[in-house]
Point group: C2
């Protein structure tokens, strides 16, 4: 029977700016007495990639603009946080008390531009963690570096949790990927009875990120790396392909 | 290391109206020489549940209203299909050529009210398959029936694939569930450093449905049942909890 296995890398150390994630993953695999198999996919929480890349800002150094200050009143947020969000964004998509949904510079429509104050050392004193500068590139580099160390280059996904219109709760999504098809287009394939398929495009890397999120947990568990084994390999399509172009967006 | 395993029930027979899904699943498990473990979650494709419940309509019997006829021109669809969609819906949320997004009677915002012409015997000649009447109730009944046959009642999820605003490709979602927490609210929990969590609510059953979707496939593979093993059990919250109330919806 076809099957899929997801396993966490336990005891993964806290990540600091400049850390070599590929080396840390390889060391952890050795400690666990395991290794990657051909076709394995490595899913990393965005947080550890951002930390390794040193994507920090300090609230105390941020001078809010008049626009940020006004928006802070509307959304009931710290004006410096709002400024940090605007600095990462191209457009405010929705706003109300407690909610600021923007289009991130890289195209994702998301709350807070993905800026995080939780699970950061110093988070209480105003340290912010931004998303990686270019998660597809981060994933490709990590895939390359792991290949160099391990001899096998796994596919890599960088995952975040996004809230969603119309549905309660967040779900894991892929913001970066390398070595697999983030987006699968099966338009033209036929169903069991030779008809065109109802579902013809699949957010493949998002489904993998959602699956990995089941094991990562959100609370103080610290399981930022999940290995996914058993999926057929697929051609390389970066996670950027998961972003719906503005002109196709019916929900602006 | 914590791990999660997903396995398909292979060779699952075609489902016809009136079929007893619980019995078919139990028989398939026996044929495969396997059994369910305590804590297992059974994910079923919506299609097989709809078929067992006989949720068919015939295009030829549908008389489109003037509203449906006008909307059919706008969306470039068959007016009888548009009528079938409107019959299942409370509101048209977005429309344009080729696209008709509605609020289904049960609250889901989705394309086509989930009505399917693919993978249906007779689909070419105008047979439509609607969503189950009450998927949470269907899941609860299946869970009960499986418990009666097997001695262990697994959690059950009824999964569909939804398109999403802002992101390309569909992702698996839960439209029905029983025996697990579809929606997890961890507001109030603290992160590694004692701060409030960034992510505080999780669409848990949606993440499981997305994971199962990786194995089900969309094309002529016919793998409508997936067993998920390894998740901690959680209190019963039906999938209805995943629907964002209209008054909280910023994207109407």
């Amino acid at each position: 029977m076809p099957s899929l296995t997801l396993t966490t890398l336990d005891g993964f150390p806290m990540v600091k700016p400049g850390d070599n994630l590929a080396r840390m993953i390889a060391d952890n695999l050795t400690t666990q007495g395991t290794t990657l198999q051909s076709g394995d996919i490595l899913v990393l929480a965005q947080k550890v990639v951002s930390k390794a890349e040193g994507r920090y800002r300090d609230l105390a150094t941020i001078q809010p603009s008049p626009e940020a200050t006004a928006l802070a009143v509307e959304t009931d947020k710290d004006p410096r946080m709002v400024q940090a969000i605007l600095d990462e964004s191209t457009e405010v998509v929705r706003k109300r008390k407690g909610v600021l949904v923007v289009r991130h510079k890289r195209g994702w429509v998301m709350a807070q531009a993905g800026i995080d104050q939780s699970n950061i050392e110093g988070g209480d004193t105003g340290r912010l963690l931004l998303l990686p500068e270019d998660p597809d590139a981060s994933a490709a580099k990590l895939r390359h570096d792991l290949g160099a160390i391990l001899g096998t280059a796994p596919a890599v996904i960088i995952a975040d949790s996004f809230g969603r219109p119309f549905r309660n709760g967040t779900s894991g999504v892929a913001i970066g990927a390398a070595g697999l098809s983030s987006f699968i287009d099966i338009r033209g394939e036929k169903d069991l009875f030779g008809r065109d398929l109802k579902v013809s495009t699949v957010g493949h890397a998002d489904e993998i990120a959602a699956a990995a999120s089941l094991l990562m947990g959100q609370a103080a568990e610290g399981r930022p790396v999940v290995i996914v084994s058993g999926l057929r390999s697929s051609p390389d399509v970066p996670a950027e392909a998961l972003i719906r172009p503005i002109e196709d967006d019916l929900f602006r």
